[in-house]
Protein backbone atom coordinates (compact mmCIF):
# COMPACT_ATOMS: atom_id res chain seq x y z
CA UNK A 1 0.00 0.00 0.00
CA UNK A 2 2.78 2.43 0.79
CA UNK A 3 5.29 3.74 -1.66
CA UNK A 4 8.39 4.21 0.37
CA UNK A 5 9.89 7.39 -0.98
CA UNK A 6 11.98 7.90 2.09
CA UNK A 7 12.97 6.05 5.18
CA UNK A 8 10.71 8.24 7.31
CA UNK A 9 7.47 7.26 8.95
CA UNK A 10 4.76 6.98 6.32
CA UNK A 11 1.63 9.08 6.37
CA UNK A 12 -1.83 7.57 6.04
CA UNK A 13 -3.93 7.45 2.95
CA UNK A 14 -3.07 5.91 -0.35
CA UNK A 15 -0.59 7.58 -2.66
CA UNK A 16 -1.67 6.78 -6.20
CA UNK A 17 1.34 5.73 -8.29
CA UNK A 18 2.46 8.24 -10.89
CA UNK A 19 2.11 5.72 -13.71
CA UNK A 20 -1.51 5.03 -12.79
CA UNK A 21 -2.42 8.72 -12.89
CA UNK A 22 -0.74 9.21 -16.26
CA UNK A 23 -2.38 6.07 -17.69
CA UNK A 24 -5.82 7.26 -16.52
CA UNK A 25 -5.18 10.65 -18.11
CA UNK A 26 -4.18 9.01 -21.41
CA UNK A 27 -7.29 6.81 -21.32
CA UNK A 28 -9.52 9.85 -20.70
CA UNK A 29 -8.04 11.73 -23.66
CA UNK A 30 -8.37 8.69 -25.95
CA UNK A 31 -11.99 8.20 -24.87
CA UNK A 32 -12.72 11.87 -25.55
CA UNK A 33 -11.34 11.37 -29.06
CA UNK A 34 -13.52 8.29 -29.54
CA UNK A 35 -16.61 10.23 -28.39
CA UNK A 36 -15.96 12.93 -30.96
CA UNK A 37 -15.16 10.37 -33.68
CA UNK A 38 -18.35 8.44 -32.91
CA UNK A 39 -20.43 11.41 -34.06
CA UNK A 40 -19.05 11.01 -37.60
CA UNK A 41 -20.88 7.70 -37.88
CA UNK A 42 -24.66 7.70 -38.02
CA UNK A 43 -25.95 4.90 -35.81
CA UNK A 44 -29.36 6.39 -35.17
CA UNK A 45 -30.43 6.45 -31.56
CA UNK A 46 -27.44 4.27 -30.63
CA UNK A 47 -25.23 7.36 -30.90
CA UNK A 48 -26.67 8.79 -27.69
CA UNK A 49 -26.13 5.55 -25.79
CA UNK A 50 -22.57 5.21 -27.09
CA UNK A 51 -21.78 8.79 -26.05
CA UNK A 52 -23.32 8.28 -22.60
CA UNK A 53 -21.58 4.91 -22.22
CA UNK A 54 -18.19 6.45 -22.96
CA UNK A 55 -18.95 9.32 -20.59
CA UNK A 56 -19.85 6.80 -17.89
CA UNK A 57 -16.56 4.95 -18.41
CA UNK A 58 -14.66 8.26 -18.20
CA UNK A 59 -16.56 9.24 -15.05
CA UNK A 60 -15.78 5.86 -13.49
CA UNK A 61 -12.06 6.27 -14.22
CA UNK A 62 -12.04 9.75 -12.69
CA UNK A 63 -13.94 8.57 -9.60
CA UNK A 64 -11.86 5.43 -9.04
CA UNK A 65 -8.36 6.84 -9.56
CA UNK A 66 -8.34 10.67 -9.52
CA UNK A 67 -10.87 10.71 -6.67
CA UNK A 68 -9.21 7.72 -4.93
CA UNK A 69 -12.47 5.79 -4.50
CA UNK A 70 -10.75 2.53 -5.40
CA UNK A 71 -8.39 2.89 -2.46
CA UNK A 72 -10.70 4.80 -0.14
CA UNK A 73 -12.96 3.64 2.68
CA UNK A 74 -15.91 1.88 1.01
CA UNK A 75 -18.28 4.14 2.92
CA UNK A 76 -17.32 7.13 0.76
CA UNK A 77 -18.04 5.10 -2.36
CA UNK A 78 -21.37 4.07 -0.84
CA UNK A 79 -22.32 7.74 -0.36
CA UNK A 80 -21.42 8.45 -3.98
CA UNK A 81 -23.38 5.47 -5.31
CA UNK A 82 -26.42 6.36 -3.21
CA UNK A 83 -26.24 9.86 -4.71
CA UNK A 84 -26.24 8.37 -8.20
CA UNK A 85 -29.19 6.18 -7.19
CA UNK A 86 -31.22 9.24 -6.25
CA UNK A 87 -30.17 10.90 -9.49
CA UNK A 88 -31.53 7.90 -11.40
CA UNK A 89 -34.72 7.97 -9.37
CA UNK A 90 -35.16 11.68 -10.07
CA UNK A 91 -34.60 11.38 -13.82
CA UNK A 92 -36.49 8.11 -14.15
CA UNK A 93 -39.63 9.21 -12.37
CA UNK A 94 -39.72 12.52 -14.21
CA UNK A 95 -39.31 10.89 -17.61
CA UNK A 96 -41.99 8.28 -16.91
CA UNK A 97 -44.89 10.48 -17.99
CA UNK A 98 -43.38 13.58 -19.57
CA UNK A 99 -44.61 12.74 -23.07
CA UNK A 100 -48.17 12.43 -21.80
CA UNK A 101 -48.61 16.18 -21.66
CA UNK A 102 -47.45 16.86 -25.19
CA UNK A 103 -50.88 16.82 -26.92
CA UNK A 104 -52.19 19.44 -24.50
CA UNK A 105 -49.04 21.55 -24.83
CA UNK A 106 -49.19 21.37 -28.63
CA UNK A 107 -52.87 22.34 -28.58
CA UNK A 108 -52.10 25.32 -26.36
CA UNK A 109 -49.24 26.39 -28.64
CA UNK A 110 -51.38 26.18 -31.77
CA UNK A 111 -54.41 27.92 -30.25
CA UNK A 112 -53.10 30.43 -27.74
CA UNK A 113 -55.77 31.70 -25.35
Amino acid sequence: MKTAESGRQEGFGHVVPLGTLLAVFAALIVLTGITVAATWVDLGSANLFIAMGIAAVKATLVALYFMHLRYDHPFNALIFVVGLLFLTLFLGLTLLDTRQYQPEIQAAVENPV
Binding site: V16, I29, V36
Partner: protein, 274 residues
Protein backbone atom coordinates in the same frame (compact mmCIF):
# COMPACT_ATOMS: atom_id res chain seq x y z
CA UNK B 1 -1.30 5.31 14.54
CA UNK B 2 -2.66 7.64 17.19
CA UNK B 3 0.71 8.29 18.66
CA UNK B 4 1.42 11.07 16.23
CA UNK B 5 3.34 13.33 18.51
CA UNK B 6 5.95 10.65 18.91
CA UNK B 7 6.61 10.34 15.23
CA UNK B 8 5.61 13.65 13.70
CA UNK B 9 8.14 16.42 14.07
CA UNK B 10 5.68 18.91 12.61
CA UNK B 11 4.64 21.77 14.80
CA UNK B 12 3.77 20.21 18.09
CA UNK B 13 2.82 23.29 20.02
CA UNK B 14 4.19 23.94 23.45
CA UNK B 15 0.88 24.42 25.18
CA UNK B 16 -0.60 21.24 23.74
CA UNK B 17 2.27 19.28 25.21
CA UNK B 18 1.41 20.71 28.60
CA UNK B 19 -2.24 19.62 28.26
CA UNK B 20 -3.50 16.16 28.99
CA UNK B 21 -4.33 15.64 25.31
CA UNK B 22 -1.25 16.41 23.31
CA UNK B 23 -1.69 16.84 19.58
CA UNK B 24 0.09 18.54 16.72
CA UNK B 25 -1.00 22.00 15.63
CA UNK B 26 -2.71 20.72 12.53
CA UNK B 27 -4.99 18.31 14.40
CA UNK B 28 -8.04 19.96 15.85
CA UNK B 29 -8.56 19.29 19.54
CA UNK B 30 -11.73 17.25 19.07
CA UNK B 31 -10.06 14.58 16.91
CA UNK B 32 -8.15 11.59 18.22
CA UNK B 33 -5.67 11.58 15.40
CA UNK B 34 -4.71 13.26 12.14
CA UNK B 35 -6.10 10.29 10.28
CA UNK B 36 -9.46 10.52 12.00
CA UNK B 37 -9.56 14.22 11.18
CA UNK B 38 -8.76 13.46 7.54
CA UNK B 39 -11.44 10.77 7.27
CA UNK B 40 -14.07 13.00 8.87
CA UNK B 41 -13.28 15.85 6.49
CA UNK B 42 -13.35 13.55 3.50
CA UNK B 43 -16.71 12.11 4.51
CA UNK B 44 -18.08 15.65 4.71
CA UNK B 45 -16.73 16.49 1.27
CA UNK B 46 -18.31 13.40 -0.27
CA UNK B 47 -21.68 14.32 1.20
CA UNK B 48 -21.23 17.81 -0.24
CA UNK B 49 -20.36 16.32 -3.65
CA UNK B 50 -23.58 14.30 -3.61
CA UNK B 51 -25.57 17.50 -3.01
CA UNK B 52 -23.70 19.00 -5.97
CA UNK B 53 -24.66 16.05 -8.17
CA UNK B 54 -28.30 16.46 -7.20
CA UNK B 55 -28.00 20.23 -7.76
CA UNK B 56 -26.87 19.65 -11.34
CA UNK B 57 -29.34 16.81 -11.82
CA UNK B 58 -32.21 19.31 -11.92
CA UNK B 59 -30.71 20.77 -15.08
CA UNK B 60 -29.95 17.33 -16.53
CA UNK B 61 -33.60 16.53 -15.86
CA UNK B 62 -34.77 19.62 -17.75
CA UNK B 63 -32.45 18.61 -20.57
CA UNK B 64 -33.85 15.07 -20.67
CA UNK B 65 -37.47 16.24 -20.67
CA UNK B 66 -36.95 18.73 -23.51
CA UNK B 67 -34.78 16.43 -25.57
CA UNK B 68 -37.23 13.58 -25.09
CA UNK B 69 -40.09 15.71 -26.36
CA UNK B 70 -38.30 17.77 -29.00
CA UNK B 71 -35.29 15.82 -30.27
CA UNK B 72 -35.27 17.76 -33.56
CA UNK B 73 -34.73 21.03 -31.65
CA UNK B 74 -31.54 19.64 -30.14
CA UNK B 75 -30.30 18.27 -33.45
CA UNK B 76 -30.97 21.64 -35.06
CA UNK B 77 -29.51 23.82 -32.33
CA UNK B 78 -26.33 21.89 -31.60
CA UNK B 79 -24.99 22.95 -35.01
CA UNK B 80 -24.57 26.40 -33.49
CA UNK B 81 -22.06 25.02 -30.96
CA UNK B 82 -18.39 24.75 -31.84
CA UNK B 83 -17.46 21.08 -31.43
CA UNK B 84 -13.73 21.86 -31.60
CA UNK B 85 -13.85 24.42 -28.81
CA UNK B 86 -15.89 22.00 -26.72
CA UNK B 87 -13.37 19.20 -27.29
CA UNK B 88 -10.50 21.58 -26.50
CA UNK B 89 -12.15 22.55 -23.20
CA UNK B 90 -12.73 18.89 -22.39
CA UNK B 91 -9.03 18.17 -22.86
CA UNK B 92 -8.06 21.24 -20.80
CA UNK B 93 -10.32 20.19 -17.94
CA UNK B 94 -9.13 16.56 -17.99
CA UNK B 95 -5.54 17.78 -17.95
CA UNK B 96 -6.30 20.05 -14.99
CA UNK B 97 -7.81 17.05 -13.20
CA UNK B 98 -4.53 15.21 -13.77
CA UNK B 99 -2.48 18.09 -12.38
CA UNK B 100 -4.83 18.33 -9.40
CA UNK B 101 -4.39 14.60 -8.71
CA UNK B 102 -0.63 15.10 -9.02
CA UNK B 103 -0.87 18.01 -6.58
CA UNK B 104 -2.60 15.78 -4.02
CA UNK B 105 0.14 13.20 -4.55
CA UNK B 106 2.83 15.84 -4.07
CA UNK B 107 1.15 16.99 -0.85
CA UNK B 108 1.06 13.42 0.48
CA UNK B 109 4.77 13.01 -0.32
CA UNK B 110 5.67 16.43 1.14
CA UNK B 111 7.00 17.68 -2.19
CA UNK B 112 6.18 21.32 -1.58
CA UNK B 113 7.64 22.76 -4.77
CA UNK B 114 5.87 20.15 -6.92
CA UNK B 115 2.63 20.84 -5.03
CA UNK B 116 2.89 24.57 -5.76
CA UNK B 117 3.77 23.92 -9.42
CA UNK B 118 0.87 21.52 -9.99
CA UNK B 119 -1.60 23.88 -8.30
CA UNK B 120 -0.39 26.72 -10.53
CA UNK B 121 -0.87 24.60 -13.66
CA UNK B 122 -4.35 23.64 -12.45
CA UNK B 123 -5.20 27.32 -11.99
CA UNK B 124 -3.85 28.13 -15.43
CA UNK B 125 -6.04 25.42 -16.98
CA UNK B 126 -9.08 26.81 -15.17
CA UNK B 127 -8.43 30.24 -16.69
CA UNK B 128 -7.90 28.73 -20.16
CA UNK B 129 -11.22 26.91 -19.80
CA UNK B 130 -13.01 30.13 -18.85
CA UNK B 131 -11.28 31.98 -21.69
CA UNK B 132 -12.54 29.48 -24.26
CA UNK B 133 -15.98 29.65 -22.65
CA UNK B 134 -15.88 33.43 -22.99
CA UNK B 135 -15.10 33.14 -26.71
CA UNK B 136 -18.04 30.76 -27.15
CA UNK B 137 -20.49 32.91 -25.16
CA UNK B 138 -19.39 35.98 -27.06
CA UNK B 139 -20.03 34.33 -30.43
CA UNK B 140 -23.50 33.36 -29.30
CA UNK B 141 -24.20 36.80 -27.93
CA UNK B 142 -23.16 38.46 -31.18
CA UNK B 143 -25.40 36.21 -33.22
CA UNK B 144 -28.41 36.49 -30.95
CA UNK B 145 -28.21 32.84 -29.98
CA UNK B 146 -29.69 33.50 -26.57
CA UNK B 147 -32.14 31.92 -24.18
CA UNK B 148 -35.86 31.63 -24.83
CA UNK B 149 -37.43 35.06 -25.03
CA UNK B 150 -34.17 36.74 -25.98
CA UNK B 151 -33.33 34.40 -28.84
CA UNK B 152 -33.16 36.34 -32.08
CA UNK B 153 -31.02 34.48 -34.55
CA UNK B 154 -29.02 35.56 -36.38
CA UNK B 155 -26.39 37.66 -38.05
CA UNK B 156 -28.63 38.61 -40.96
CA UNK B 157 -29.97 41.76 -39.30
CA UNK B 158 -26.65 43.47 -39.77
CA UNK B 159 -26.41 42.18 -43.34
CA UNK B 160 -29.84 42.99 -44.67
CA UNK B 161 -31.22 45.71 -42.44
CA UNK B 162 -34.18 45.44 -40.07
CA UNK B 163 -36.87 44.91 -42.72
CA UNK B 164 -35.10 42.04 -44.38
CA UNK B 165 -34.35 40.67 -40.97
CA UNK B 166 -37.96 40.59 -39.88
CA UNK B 167 -38.97 39.08 -43.21
CA UNK B 168 -36.26 36.51 -42.83
CA UNK B 169 -37.35 35.77 -39.33
CA UNK B 170 -40.90 35.19 -40.49
CA UNK B 171 -39.63 32.90 -43.20
CA UNK B 172 -37.46 31.09 -40.72
CA UNK B 173 -40.37 30.48 -38.41
CA UNK B 174 -42.46 29.19 -41.27
CA UNK B 175 -39.96 27.01 -43.05
CA UNK B 176 -36.76 26.88 -41.05
CA UNK B 177 -33.50 28.26 -42.40
CA UNK B 178 -32.89 27.62 -46.06
CA UNK B 179 -29.77 27.63 -48.11
CA UNK B 180 -28.83 30.98 -49.55
CA UNK B 181 -29.10 34.51 -48.28
CA UNK B 182 -31.59 33.89 -45.49
CA UNK B 183 -29.36 31.31 -43.86
CA UNK B 184 -28.07 32.45 -40.49
CA UNK B 185 -24.48 33.63 -40.49
CA UNK B 186 -23.58 31.03 -37.88
CA UNK B 187 -23.25 28.25 -38.75
CA UNK B 188 -22.54 29.06 -42.40
CA UNK B 189 -23.98 25.81 -43.69
CA UNK B 190 -26.79 24.07 -41.94
CA UNK B 191 -27.24 20.48 -43.01
CA UNK B 192 -30.57 19.61 -44.61
CA UNK B 193 -31.85 17.71 -41.61
CA UNK B 194 -31.68 20.93 -39.63
CA UNK B 195 -34.77 22.10 -41.50
CA UNK B 196 -36.66 18.91 -40.82
CA UNK B 197 -39.14 20.32 -38.38
CA UNK B 198 -40.98 23.57 -37.92
CA UNK B 199 -40.72 22.95 -34.20
CA UNK B 200 -36.97 23.40 -34.30
CA UNK B 201 -36.68 27.14 -35.05
CA UNK B 202 -39.59 27.94 -32.74
CA UNK B 203 -38.00 26.24 -29.73
CA UNK B 204 -34.28 26.85 -30.31
CA UNK B 205 -34.41 29.44 -27.56
CA UNK B 206 -35.32 26.69 -25.11
CA UNK B 207 -32.21 24.78 -26.12
CA UNK B 208 -30.11 27.84 -25.47
CA UNK B 209 -31.83 28.39 -22.11
CA UNK B 210 -30.70 24.91 -21.13
CA UNK B 211 -27.28 25.42 -22.71
CA UNK B 212 -26.61 28.65 -20.83
CA UNK B 213 -28.02 27.35 -17.55
CA UNK B 214 -25.94 24.16 -17.63
CA UNK B 215 -22.66 25.61 -18.90
CA UNK B 216 -23.18 28.76 -16.83
CA UNK B 217 -23.67 26.85 -13.59
CA UNK B 218 -20.66 24.72 -14.51
CA UNK B 219 -18.58 27.85 -15.22
CA UNK B 220 -19.59 29.25 -11.82
CA UNK B 221 -18.24 26.05 -10.29
CA UNK B 222 -14.98 26.52 -12.20
CA UNK B 223 -14.77 30.07 -10.80
CA UNK B 224 -15.44 28.68 -7.32
CA UNK B 225 -12.70 26.12 -7.96
CA UNK B 226 -10.27 28.88 -8.86
CA UNK B 227 -10.97 30.45 -5.47
CA UNK B 228 -10.50 27.14 -3.65
CA UNK B 229 -7.27 26.25 -5.48
CA UNK B 230 -5.91 29.75 -4.81
CA UNK B 231 -6.60 29.25 -1.10
CA UNK B 232 -4.77 25.89 -1.16
CA UNK B 233 -1.93 27.46 -3.12
CA UNK B 234 -1.47 30.19 -0.51
CA UNK B 235 -1.43 27.59 2.28
CA UNK B 236 1.04 25.45 0.32
CA UNK B 237 3.35 28.44 -0.08
CA UNK B 238 3.04 29.02 3.67
CA UNK B 239 4.07 25.40 4.21
CA UNK B 240 0.91 24.21 5.97
CA UNK B 241 0.85 20.72 4.55
CA UNK B 242 2.71 17.54 5.41
CA UNK B 243 2.13 13.82 5.04
CA UNK B 244 -0.21 13.81 8.04
CA UNK B 245 -2.05 16.96 7.04
CA UNK B 246 -2.95 17.17 3.37
CA UNK B 247 -6.73 16.96 3.77
CA UNK B 248 -7.58 20.40 2.37
CA UNK B 249 -5.60 19.65 -0.81
CA UNK B 250 -7.46 16.36 -1.20
CA UNK B 251 -10.86 17.96 -0.50
CA UNK B 252 -10.38 20.73 -3.07
CA UNK B 253 -9.10 18.05 -5.45
CA UNK B 254 -12.28 16.01 -5.02
CA UNK B 255 -14.39 19.07 -5.75
CA UNK B 256 -12.30 19.87 -8.82
CA UNK B 257 -12.69 16.32 -10.14
CA UNK B 258 -16.45 16.57 -9.71
CA UNK B 259 -16.48 19.74 -11.82
CA UNK B 260 -14.57 17.70 -14.41
CA UNK B 261 -17.10 14.86 -14.09
CA UNK B 262 -20.02 17.18 -14.80
CA UNK B 263 -18.29 18.49 -17.92
CA UNK B 264 -17.57 14.93 -19.11
CA UNK B 265 -21.35 14.53 -19.41
CA UNK B 266 -22.13 18.08 -20.58
CA UNK B 267 -19.77 17.91 -23.55
CA UNK B 268 -21.42 15.01 -25.44
CA UNK B 269 -24.92 16.04 -24.36
CA UNK B 270 -24.64 19.60 -25.70
CA UNK B 271 -21.96 19.54 -28.41
CA UNK B 272 -22.13 16.03 -29.86
CA UNK B 273 -25.83 15.51 -30.52
CA UNK B 274 -26.45 13.24 -33.42
Amino acid sequence: MNDLTALAPHGVSAQSEQGHHPHPDYVAHHFDSAEQQFDAGKLGVWVFLVTEILFFSGLFCAYAVYRGNHPEVFVYAHHFLDKNLGALNTAVLIFSSLTMALAVRAAQLEQRRALIAFLLVTLLCAFVFLGVKYVEYRQKWEHGLLWAGRYHATGQESNHGPEAASADRGAAVAAGPRAGETTPAVPPELPPEATASEDAPRLVGVFFSIYFAMTGLHALHVIGGIGAVTWILARAVRGDFNRFYFGPVDYVGLYWHLVDLVWIFLFPLLYLIH
